[in-house]
């Protein structure tokens, strides 16, 4: 077993060697501009891009013509939401999203609010899923877009996207979903979900950073987007800019591999994840899973180890790469807004660790992480005044704390 262990696959993934091999010729040999229509260099690049478009389309059950390449999911989310808001301004100005969306969605919505749009941020239930009745109740005749993620990046919880898509369809509202964490990991079909716009990213599925895609439905309805980057009119005029051919080839190959290996890989990861979870529960008391275990990505686990702080936990396992919802690990010095939205209390957000398993995670690594983290949690609890007070029978929620 090699150290350090990487167990943060929701943050990013390494590029699969097969993906890299597919990309390499497009840097030096077939380096043409895919928009060069009159020579073989351009044709070779265009052919590679079109093959990648098909590979991406196949992964999500789409038509290749419905796939737009972007610089990544942040751009895809921006293009989908701003593009719809601008294009359908006459029809309405109301957008529905939810409080645990990725910042690329939330901050895009906030920006639109400043420009006069109205945005409803649906809360989530304790299990991390939105309530469909609340979604229905939020819809007005001005609603033009519902944007709800397929799977959450912190807690791995899967939203009821097929039900959301059906509601949107019934009401004639466009439905965008940020499927970055789900695409390539669990089955996702644009027609089954009735999605009109879908964001995906290459580097979350063993492809390179800096490339992503946006699915834009062409029929029933034909979705139109106002371009957010102006220029040469690439990508059906929705996203100008010379195509990142090697990156796109990488995204295509990554999508193809994910599709081919999904069934077996999902099962393998689910077993490893469940083993991680069971072993923690066997070793430690007072640990809490954040979000639904039933509706969850098979490779995600997010646990709060009560009475110990996340950053100090990470410090004790410095040969394991995971992340925490603790304030101390975030640039904003605020605990995870996703965990706060679950309503479990900020103290549990500070004590949370996110485990993201992936293509190269082994049972041996899982066992190592469990042993190591168990020891650190026990050591830090011996050092924790909260743990001591709870063992003495003090109810922490009834204490008068001096906030600072």
């Amino acid at each position: 077993m090699k150290l350090p262990i990487y167990m943060d696959y929701h943050a990013t993934t390494p590029v699969d060697q097969r993906v890299l091999d597919a990309m390499l010729p497009y840097f030096t040999q077939d380096f043409g501009n895919a928009a060069s229509r009159n020579h073989s260099f351009g044709w070779a690049a265009e052919e590679a891009v079109e093959q990648a478009r098909k590979q991406v389309a196949d992964l999500i059950g789409a038509n290749p013509k419905e796939v737009i390449f972007t610089s990544g999911a942040t751009e895809s989310n921006n293009l989908a939401i701003k593009g719809v808001a601008e294009m359908y301004r006459e029809k309405g100005n109301h957008i529905i999203t939810c409080v645990i969306e990725h910042k690329a969605v939330i901050d895009t919505c906030k920006k639109l609010e400043k420009q006069g749009a109205r945005v409803t941020y649906l809360p989530v239930q304790k299990d991390g899923r939105i309530n469909l009745d609340e979604l229905r109740a939020a819809i007005t005749d001005k609603t033009i877009l519902i944007t709800i993620m397929t799977a959450n990046n912190e807690i791995g919880v899967l939203q009821p996207v097929a039900e959301i898509g059906a509601i949107a369809k019934e009401k004639g509202i466009l439905f965008h979903t940020d499927a970055v964490q789900a695409a390539g990991k669990v089955p996702f079909d644009v027609n089954q979900v009735k999605a009109d716009l879908v964001s995906i990213s290459a580097h979350k599925m063993y492809g390179p950073k800096g490339v992503g895609a946006l699915y834009v439905r062409r029929r029933n309805p034909r979705v139109l987007l106002a371009e957010q980057i102006s220029g040469g009119g690439h990508e059906r005029g929705m996203r100008s800019g010379t195509l990142n051919v090697p990156g796109i080839v990488g995204l295509g190959k990554a999508a193809e591999i994910c599709k081919a290996e999904m069934a077996s890989e999902t099962e393998r990861l689910r077993k490893l994840r469940d083993s991680l979870n069971e072993k923690f529960h066997k070793n430690l008391d007072e640990i809490y899973i954040n979000g639904s275990m039933e509706h969850r990505l098979p490779h995600n686990l997010n646990i709060s180890f009560a009475y110990v702080e996340g950053e100090s936990l990470l410090m004790g396992i410095n040969d394991v790469a995971v992340s925490s919802g603790s304030a101390c690990t975030s640039a904003s010095l605020e605990p995870s807004y996703v965990l706060k939205a679950l309503g479990a209390g900020d103290d549990l957000a500070h004590s949370s660790i996110r485990f993201g398993l992936g293509r190269w995670t082994t049972q041996e690594e899982v066992d190592y992480v469990v042993d190591k983290l168990t020891n650190v949690v026990r050591r830090l609890r011996e050092m924790s005044p909260l743990y001591e007070m709870v063992k003495e029978g003090v109810d922490l929620s009834k204490m008068q704390w001096v906030a600072h």
Binding site: S312, G345, D347, H350, P385, Y387, W401, A403, H404
Partner: protein, 140 residues
């Protein structure tokens, strides 16, 4: 973020972790911070009634590595100091000693608060004991 060697040393080998009997009249207890803020420090001192010198200091901390290191260092510094000397410890002393980055300064502030709270608790107990002495001398 990289931690200084001193923070790592205190995190890995914390000094004076533990608890003193909080009902002891010579023990002062400070409990500062809040779980929802991500750090809580309990710091205790025991003062020798003969000499007025702190002869024992213990801590328990829920918080990041810098918070643990700040309180661990504080207990090290408190031992052997008089109450007045203890009150003179400033959070900036802790920042300098541990080379804390700006985002971790609040950990040192919390440690200073914990010292002050522990000593205030000790002094309050002493006052109460003194006030009770004449009463205790009379027959009930």
């Amino acid at each position: 973020m990289a931690y200084s060697d001193k923070v790592i040393d205190h995190y890995e080998n914390p000094r004076n972790v533990g608890s003193l009997p909080k009902d002891d009249v010579n023990v002062g207890t400070g409990l500062v911070g809040a779980p929802e803020c991500g750090d809580v420090m309990k710091l205790q001192v025991r003062v020798n009634p003969e000499t007025g010198v702190i002869d024992e200091a213990k801590f328990k901390t829920f918080g990041c590595g810098s918070a643990i290191a700040s309180s661990s260092l504080a207990t090290e510094w408190l031992k052997g100091k008089t109450v007045d000397q203890a009150l003179a410890i400033k959070n900036t002393d802790i920042v300098n000693e541990l080379a804390l980055p700006p985002v971790k300064i609040h950990c040192s502030v919390l440690a200073e608060d914990a010292i002050k709270a522990a000593i205030a608790d000790y002094q309050k107990k002493r006052e109460e004991t003194k006030a009770n002495e004449p009463v205790g001398a009379q027959s009930v």
